[in-house]
């Protein structure tokens, strides 16, 4: 069979790193659910079903210069950009050492300045215009870099989506808008959210390229994001990419998805789970063996064990710091 990743200019190491990100994201996410069900952490919001899109896209970006403005499911993106499993755990356990917010913000609201991960918050789609602004600054500073932002398909109905993309298009800004279409916005299915088949169809309204990609194919996502990045660096402006996959978990640990979709539907989606299909690919191109997979898994498991342990031991925020950082310290 053809070696697709080499055709795309990806080295074996690069593609294995991408797989490692996918697998780490999945295994970490699974651990978070276990901890939640054991009553140790209050809330989980998942990446499951979107790891391939996240790892594929991240692999096409340059972590040393690009900015990412992720949304709450983007565990795969932030792991690639340098957030560690321990930091993720510190956030989920709401400990002082949480790099996002010192245990103040919701899990999944990623932000870590030194890794170019720009902080987000709970109201959906608000990061889209931020990405346009970051990209305008990049352009004015003449930086060879892009802003990359993500959001769900339901969220693409907010006014911020239109305003951010329109601004970026008018000014031909170096930004990539990626919609992770997982077919549901909590309980509301795609056809109750949009009257077009693809979120990417909306690109036409802004005069920018729009592409809909199989979100379970990390190589296809890598390819699309790589082309969008090159285009942005050539000064040709933004792109809208839609990755289509399926949300394999309930919306969050507070949701019961069986009230609005069937188990059969979820099981059906699992048959195209990228964690399976891409592992097969790696086996076919002889980059992975079942033993290799097991070794990789136990290595990741050890990292997650350690991260969990460390976060559990870590201290909560000091009550005397409750009022800190509302303004610049000493300046209010």
């Amino acid at each position: 069979m053809t070696n697709r990743h080499q055709e795309l200019g990806m080295s074996d190491e690069h593609v294995m790193e991408m797989y490692r990100t996918m697998l780490t994201a999945r295994m970490l996410d699974e651990r978070l659910w276990l901890l939640n069900r054991a009553g140790k952490i209050p809330f989980v919001i998942s990446c499951q079903g979107q790891e391939a899109a996240q790892a594929g896209a991240s692999a096409a970006l340059d972590t040393t210069v690009d900015y990412v403005l992720p949304y709450y499911r983007d565990l795969g993106v932030v792991l690639h950009f340098g957030m560690t499993p321990e930091e993720v755990m510190l956030s989920n356990f709401a400990r002082e050492g949480d790099p996002n917010s010192g245990g103040r913000q919701m899990p999944g609201h990623f932000g870590k300045r030194e890794s170019n991960i720009v902080t987000g918050s709970s109201p959906v789609t608000t990061q889209v215009p931020h990405a346009a602004g970051i990209a305008l600054a990049l352009k004015q500073k003449k930086k060879e870099a892009v802003a990359f932002t993500t959001f769900g398909e339901g969220s693409s109905n907010q006014g911020d989506f239109h305003e951010g993309i329109n601004f970026a298009s008018v000014h031909q800004l170096p930004v990539i808008f990626m919609c992770e279409n997982n077919k549901y916005a909590i309980s509301v299915p795609l056809d109750k959210q949009l009257n077009v088949e693809h979120v990417s169809d909306r690109a036409a309204a802004y005069g920018i390229p729009g592409e809909s990609i199989d979100g379970n194919d990390p190589l296809a996502v890598y390819d699309a994001v790589k082309r969008a990045r090159e285009r942005a660096l050539r000064g040709e402006g933004p792109s809208l990419i839609e990755t289509v996959s399926y949300r394999l978990t309930p919306h969050s640990s507070d949701d019961d998805d069986m009230t609005y979709r069937s188990k059969e539907e979820v099981d059906q989606a699992r048959t195209t789970d990228a964690l399976e299909t891409f592992r097969h690919y790696l086996e076919e191109v002889s980059l992975l063996t079942p033993e290799g997979e097991e070794a990789l898994r136990s290595e990741i498991r050890a990292v997650i064990d350690e991260a969990t342990e460390a976060a559990e031991q870590a201290s909560y925020p000091d009550p005397t710091t409750l009022m800190n950082h509302v303004y610049e310290e000493g300046n209010s």
């Binding site: 809330f43 245990g103 709970s122 109201p123 909590i186 109750k192 949009l194 609005y260 409750l322």
Partner: protein
């Protein structure tokens, strides 16, 4: 009248069922309110009973939800909107504040908007920051809106009926801590509790506590503790409608007790407690034997999890305020 022992969540749900049955022009709109029955299950069963043309799962866009509801109300319908969490109303803030609130005024009554916007609010359920805020102050600065915040199942049902019947837009705030906190005997029939009327939920002679939502229960707890530990007798007023609010009930009580403490989850600065204090000062200053106390959220965004408990006002903080007023 037959009664059942139900939660506030069930009371709100029941009131919606009744309104939908009584008036076929009534519609429900919101995110995840259909099959899912709402993220808190407030609209459970309504989709099954009234179908997708009257229980509408909207696209995820609050400006659109509130804006289209304004259009519905302008054209003879009675929309009941669910905003998933109060702080997610911000994308629709413009529609609410610039249009819903002033449609009647700016058209000299030609157009008016019978609509209700329901929104869960408040901290204490481990839903941090924007999932936990009490931002009623934004809306009590908006003449043309009425703002209601029930503190128990019985009031929730009666106030909801009154809110839907009201010819003007009502923001109906539901304290998430109260949804399943306790049950109460609630009549099976529909009934109304008038908007703008507070309730004295505990009588007392030494100090008047004013609160709403779940803070009423904290106030009552503090009052009981003070009675037992110090022999002080506190009156507790549940404001119920927080804008425009019932000045008479507060003033009458303060004239009797000579002391007052206001309690709310919202940030202290510019919170409704400041307005209530000012009203007391304007109308009952000479009766006061101590400055009016305010027990409120700190001026910091609601933090999550462990720090949240430090943020949230409780009976202990209210007891301190009572002690301060009593020993002034």
């Amino acid at each position: 009248m037959s009664t059942r022992n139900i939660t506030m969540l069930q009371a709100v749900n029941e009131a919606m069922h009744e309104r939908m049955e009584m008036d076929s022009d009534t519609l429900l709109l919101g995110e995840d309110i259909g099959k899912n029955g709402g993220v808190f299950r407030a609209t459970d069963g309504l989709y099954e009973t009234f179908g997708p043309s009257r229980v509408i799962d909207t696209p995820l866009a609050e400006a659109g939800i509130i804006g289209s509801s304004i259009g519905l109300a302008l054209n003879g319908k009675k929309p009941i909107v669910e905003i998933q969490f109060l702080a997610f109303i911000y994308p629709g803030f413009e529609q609410l504040v610039s249009h819903a609130a002033r449609m009647r005024y700016r058209t000299r009554g030609q157009f008016h908007l019978p609509m209700v916007i329901r929104a869960p609010y408040g901290a204490g359920i481990r839903g941090p920051e924007l999932h936990s805020e009490s931002v009623e102050s934004f809306f009590v600065q908006t003449p043309g809106l009425k703002v209601v915040a029930p503190g128990n199942p019985y009031d929730a049902k009666g106030l909801f009926h009154a809110a839907v019947k009201d010819p003007d837009p009502v923001l109906f705030l539901e304290d998430t801590k109260l949804y399943r906190a306790f049950k109460q005997d609630v009549p099976a029939e529909s009934y109304e509790i008038p908007l703008g009327k507070a309730a004295v939920v505990r009588e007392g002679s030494d100090l008047t506590m004013v609160a709403w939502g779940s803070m009423v229960r904290e106030a009552v707890k503090a009052a009981e503790r003070m009675e037992k530990e110090k022999g002080w007798s506190c009156e507790v007023i549940d404001l119920r409608t927080i804008y425009p609010f019932d000045r008479e009930t507060i003033i009458e009580s303060v004239k009797k007790t000579g002391r007052a403490a206001v309690m709310h989850e919202a940030h202290k600065t510019g919170g409704l407690g400041a307005e209530i204090t000012a009203v007391i000062n304007e109308e009952a200053l000479v009766y006061l034997r101590a400055p009016v106390q305010r027990v409120a959220g700190y001026d910091v965004p609601v933090p999550q999890f462990m720090v949240e408990d430090l943020y949230l006002p409780d009976a202990g903080r209210m007891a301190n305020a009572v002690e301060k007023a009593m020993t002034f």
